[in-house]
Symmetry: C2
Subunit: 327 residues, 2 copies
DNA sequence: CTGAAAGCGCTAACAA
DNA sequence: TTGTTAGCGCTTTCAG
């Protein structure tokens, strides 16, 4: 049987608003009376009805979190950090996975709106919905990516890629390839970094991942398709745009009957997830906990002050060098 | 500016309850009028206020999901499947991580209650709160474990362990060890299975994980502590109670200066997560998607009919044999 | 077929 | 210090 303030009030012989005052720690309540009410509450397993509070206060203490993908272990670490950070501030998270589907993503946002969330933390699938996000009437912070015109928090991807380029070059590599989406910010960074070092990226060294559903299966297939009929691939090092890809690439090589890649191919990933730690893959570390907390705090400050100018925060990356890229 | 039915009503020149009827597809509304109202709604980015609905209907379409641990990739797969299953039925999930802390777990449950969740999906940290769970006034289904007196859905762990025992024995192993908590259902199963095969488990072959916080770091330390001063460990095969442990065990051996374990030690894990797939570790597969859907459906049926007798569902496990346990 | 009225559980302004 | 009253946005009788 679910208790309400009204029933507590009856049991304690006070009015219902008095119960409300006691629960909310209003100081203008007689001590003895407050104690009596508290006693009744404790004996009754009453919990406040947050739906009623939400309706009354137009504030839900609910944050909607939209993930682009819940199969990449990287996002799990984000979720883990987020659950803790929000809980400590009295917020709850309601989560959705868009699974790289922008239509799904938009529906999820609508759902968040109807749930009266106070704010949305967004890990976007793509730029597809960005315009719609602009005139949402609820605060939104984008994280793991930087987007113009939005509050956004991310590691500095460009700098991360430069760290990789510098590392590979200092290891003596000149023939550096890339595996990832053919249109991608990190690929642009790689191009720029290599160009700046006088060894422009050869477009033939790009192994494109074109499937939209970025399942590990799709990664496998995309790479296989690319190297089909090739019996050599002129690279001494490859940058994989994330750890999952790096790992799938390594696994694929074990399966290949004809392996067009160099025996001692250097491989670098991105995100420094448990995958790269376990597999000794060099990778760019992201300060996930810090990033998540900053994103959440930024969202809170935005909830308090919707008019503040948009903030972009880029955190410094760190390259963790492991066996996969040293001789 | 957040729209309400009242405002839609004014714009469409009807009463507010009529707007409600149109939105909820009540058939007793004049077609033309309904069309007019729909048009206004579409032009206005109105979304229904679920907090108000929850208050009015005493039903939130919210499911609380409590995880014992969000760092084990196994639970991520559960979460992924759950998000999809619940969304398709019009439910939202609000999640909490107990991080193996029963006190935190109980607080999380209280929080779920105040959020007016329709039901709770529970992955328990321990038996600590079970009594409290019994007289919760909201439906609860326990998953990934079977518990007496509760609706629960899980893979048949006992059968899974028997598959492992049979496999190892048929591979010729007689000296079989265990790594995991020293008080554990799977350990009991192993004892029974080996006993039934006439090769009782030697208690000296149990490497106990005793730290309560089951971080990978703790696993490392526990194993290290155990083998300290030992220069041999009389086992030809080891069953690790989950994949994370199996993997940590394998990694640890790489680090050891003195490795007391046999060169060709067979290793088997449990859960068949991405870790065992990637690392070619034999493991017991859990049909996570199926299990999750069944648990959720069971919860829904319990929400509809709270009086039904408790149901325990054990799904058949499947042993996936990989390189780690064959010669 | 449509509107008026009540009430879900809570908070806050006001009165006493 | 406490109680009375109103109202958040919605659904559901009940009249008309």
């Amino acid at each position: 049987m679910k208790m309400t303030m009204k029933e507590i009030a009856k049991l304690a012989n006070v009015s219902q608003p008095t119960v409300s005052r006691v629960i909310n720690g209003n100081p203008n309540v007689d001590k003895a009376l407050a104690k009596r009410v508290m006693k009744v509450i404790e004996e009754s397993n009453y919990t406040v009805n947050r739906a009623a509070q939400t309706l009354k206060n137009s504030q839900s203490y609910l944050i909607g979190v939209s993930f682009s993908d819940l199969s990449n272990p990287y996002f799990i670490e984000v979720l883990n950090a987020l659950e803790e950070a929000t809980r400590k501030e009295g917020y709850n998270i309601i989560i959705h996975n868009s699974a790289f589907n922008p239509l799904q993503e938009w529906q999820n946002i609508q759902n968040f709106m109807s749930r009266q969330v106070d704010g949305i933390l967004m890990i976007p699938t793509s730029d597809y919905n960005m315009d719609r996000f602009k005139d949402l009437n609820v605060p939104m912070v984008i994280t793991t990516q930087i987007k113009d015109g939005f509050d956004s928090v991310s590691v500095d991807h460009d700098e991360g890629v430069r760290l990789i380029a510098d590392h590979l070059i200092s290891e003596g590599h000149r023939k550096i390839g890339y595996i990832g989406p053919p249109v991608d910010f990190k690929l642009d960074s790689l191009r720029a970094a290599l160009y700046d070092n006088g060894i422009p990226l050869d477009e033939s060294r790009i192994i494109p991942l074109t499937s939209n559903e970025q399942s590990t299966y799709a990664i496998h297939e995309d790479i296989k398709n690319f190297i089909k009929d090739k019996d050599s691939f002129d690279c001494s090092a490859v940058f994989c745009y994330n750890d999952v890809t790096a790992l799938e690439f390594i696994r694929l090589q074990d399966e290949l009957e004809v392996n067009p890649f160099a025996e001692d191919l250097a491989i670098v990933g991105f995100d420094d997830t448990m995958l790269s730690k376990i597999f000794q893959i060099s990778s760019v570390h992201q300060p996930i906990q810090e990033m998540t907390e900053i994103a959440f705090k930024l969202l809170l400050s935005r909830i308090e002050n919707p008019e503040k100018a948009k903030t972009k925060i880029e955190l410094p990356p760190k390259l963790i060098v492991r066996k996969s890229s040293i001789k």
